[in-house]
């Protein structure tokens, strides 16, 4: 690119700095000695053609719908189809959540997204000691196939797409979904949706793991293999940076660790004998839409480019669908404040806008009350309306990658890419992501960033409106969703009844077969489906696997 028009005494930018900027700075100095993003990345005052020196426009930026997809995976952007407005929801009993889903669909939501409670996420039944006080609190409780039937009662699984945030017990919950679909008459090869199924980020950040890393990776490759023939339209994994970011990572660390996790799954799939182009097209990603507007946009654009290039060069993928990184995004829960909660509506709108300008394929917007509790129905509706206003009123969806060519955004995109590739090299040198996790590397990097950020908030180097500046005393409380113990009582009663009425022999037989499968190397999806069909519970199926594989315990890193 012909950038930085040279004059006798240097570039245009240098001339401007000398002739125009310097006199200005002498008269009125800047607000701070240095400016950084929320991730601590230094930002210059101005970006000009000089800053694009190492960027080849055709090769690095390209055009939408074409390799390396920096400007988006669809040639027509959102002019054809808008992103999917997918609001994550779940609380209490399956009956409670089924009602919320019907309300979200009636309000114009275009896909479902299931939030499970902690006992379900950790593979524990409501009657387990550690489930005390947790049933139905952070999501919906699903103990058995019977609960899954209730959760989707009156919702045609053949006609909608469903995303399920479930990781360690993903195979169990997915098996239940398949059986419910079958009973509704929906063919598996027509089903579409996503399971999160990303265990690496659990070890790195969110810590909802059950089994050790290696058997955990094996179930995931079993799901890849099973779906490639049986449920070919299902997104088998949503490789997630969201939780990595929420745990305190910088934007760059989120980008690098997430994509490196993605490469690890591809590597394990290949080593399990799968063809790259058979399973990579069904992999999807999930990023955090945080507060630093341009840094986030650069992150999404860099992600697409890195994935496309790595799939082609490192894994020899030939199918262009293997090159295209598709991603969901969610606004940053960690940025929401309990103080002056209405401010959160504004934060969320800006974060959502960055995700849209970065080309997100689907989006969840958080509700204003989520620093305090799970959202009320009104708050959840306002969050959905935020997306609808961006889509239909702001005009930003009318042009593809409107920030493409911005000196700043292109520079930042390239810097994010270079930074991520440096992290890849460090992790490759450790032997891969599983090995890096085993030695606590990403965990330490994140803990360090999170503490640094907190210190910068304490020192007021970073302002959080309503928290460390612009504070207001005596705020009136807002209405929140309070989840009492009635969900736990109801789920316990249902579990007791289930155990009395189901065929106990079938449960025992299928769980024994699953244990045998776990000791061997055959695909585990068929025995898991058999067990859930016999109404074995989430806790029982996970216990059968715990019997064979044991449980993971981390060495905490402060």
């Amino acid at each position: 690119m012909n950038c930085g028009m040279k004059t006798a005494t240097g570039t245009e930018k240098e001339r401007w700095e000398r002739d125009t900027l310097e006199p200005t700075l002498k008269k009125s100095p800047e607000r701070a000695a240095a400016f950084t993003t929320i991730s601590g990345r230094p930002i210059d005052r101005l970006y000009a053609p000089d800053d694009l020196g190492d960027i080849d426009v055709a090769r690095d930026i390209g055009l939408p719908g074409e390799f390396p997809y920096t400007r988006g995976i669809h040639a027509s952007g959102y002019r054809g189809k808008l992103w999917t407005m997918r609001q994550f929801a779940g609380f209490g009993t399956p009956e409670d959540t089924n009602g919320r889903y019907k309300a979200l669909l009636a309000a114009g939501g275009t896909g479902l997204s299931v939030a499970f409670d902690l006992p379900t996420l950790m593979g524990r039944d409501p009657d387990h000691e550690l489930s005390l006080g947790e049933v139905g609190k952070c999501g919906v409780n699903v103990t058995s196939l019977a609960d899954m039937e209730t959760l989707f009662d009156g919702i045609r699984l053949g006609d909608i797409t469903t995303s399920m945030t479930i990781n360690s017990p993903a195979a169990v919950i997915f098996a239940m979904y398949l059986v419910v679909a079958e009973r509704q008459g929906a063919a598996w090869n027509r089903l579409s949706g996503t399971i999160q199924n990303d265990i690496l980020k659990e070890f790195i950040a969110q810590k909802e793991y059950i089994f050790p890393p290696r058997p955990s990776m094996r179930i995931i490759t079993d799901i890849f293999g099973f779906c490639s023939t049986e449920v070919p339209r299902w997104n088998t994994i949503s490789v997630s940076g969201y939780h990595i970011r929420e745990a305190g990572a910088t934007a760059l660390q989120e980008l690098a660790f997430t994509l490196r996790d993605g490469l690890e799954y591809v590597q394990w799939g290949v080593e399990a004998g799968l063809d790259v182009d058979d399973f990579v097209p069904r992999m999807s990603f999930f990023f955090n839409a945080h507060s630093d507007f341009f840094e986030e946009i650069a992150k999404y654009r860099a992600a697409r480019k890195i994935w496309a290039e790595t799939m082609r060069t490192r894994f020899g993928a030939k199918n262009e669908r293997s090159w295209k990184l598709r991603f969901h995004s969610q606004t940053a829960g960690v940025s929401l404040t309990a103080q002056q909660p209405y401010n959160n509506v504004v934060r969320t709108a800006l974060q959502a806008l960055s995700a849209v300008l970065g080309g997100t394929n689907s989006l969840h917007t958080n509700s204003l009350d989520e620093a305090l509790a799970l959202p009320t129905e009104d708050a959840a509706k306002l969050a959905l309306r935020t997306q609808q206003i961006i889509a239909h009123e702001s005009g930003v969806a009318n042009v593809v990658d409107p920030l493409g060519g911005s000196y700043f955004v292109e520079r930042l995109t390239k810097d994010m890419e270079d930074g991520a590739l440096a992290y890849f090299r460090a992790i490759d040198n450790m032997g891969g992501m599983v090995e890096a996790i085993e030695r606590g590397y990403p965990q330490k990097e994140i803990a360090e960033s999170s503490y640094k950020f907190q210190q910068s908030v304490e020192r007021k180097e970073k302002v959080i409106v309503g928290v460390n500046d612009f504070v207001q005393q005596d705020e009136p409380p807002i209405e929140i969703l309070y989840i009492d113990e009635s969900a736990a009582d109801a789920q316990l009663a249902k579990l007791e009844q289930l155990k009395r009425t189901r065929d106990g022999d079938a449960v025992k037989r299928t769980l024994d077969a699953l244990r045998d499968g776990a000791r061997g190397t055959t695909n585990l999806m068929p025995p898991i489906i058999d067990a859930v069909r016999a109404y074995a519970t989430v806790g029982e199926v996970c216990d059968a696997l715990r019997d064979v594989w044991g449980e993971y315990e981390e060495v905490p890193v402060i």
Partner: protein
């Protein structure tokens, strides 16, 4: 006088440990001895850690809504073990309506999202008594 000894614990099934780790580090930087128990500790395990470590303070990080079950059990166990002089504080997401109940059973400090780390350090320094 010896340094204050603080056990930071994460009870319940939740794994979101960002807050627990940040506060553990802040207390350590403020000159306290900090023992972080790691995840998924039952009240029994936390009390036994406090006993073993000769703790002056127990800090619980709870975001999931399980505090109404965990805190009363912990406070009862502390009494049984004769550890009722240990300062107990909770950080996390606690609905306003639950705060009076927690204070009533003896939880001295409840710190909600957005609390400056320094405020927690100051509270502990003012309210905990190092054992001799």
């Amino acid at each position: 006088m010896r340094k204050l000894r603080v056990v930071i614990a994460k009870p319940g099934l939740d794994g979101h440990d960002r807050g627990a780790k940040v506060i553990a580090r802040a207390l350590r930087d403020a000159g306290m001895e900090v023992i972080y128990t790691g995840l998924r500790q039952t009240p029994e395990q936390i009390v036994s850690a406090a006993l073993q470590e000769d703790a002056d303070v127990i800090g619980l990080s709870i975001l999931s809504g399980a505090h109404n079950h965990i805190a009363p059990r912990l406070m009862d166990l502390l009494k049984v073990k004769g550890l009722d002089d240990v300062l107990v504080v909770i950080g996390g997401i606690i609905p306003d309506v639950d705060i009076p109940k927690l204070k009533e059973i003896g939880v001295k400090g409840i710190f909600l999202p957005g609390t400056p780390m320094q405020q927690i350090v100051d509270f502990i320094n003012a309210n905990a008594r190092a054992r001799v």
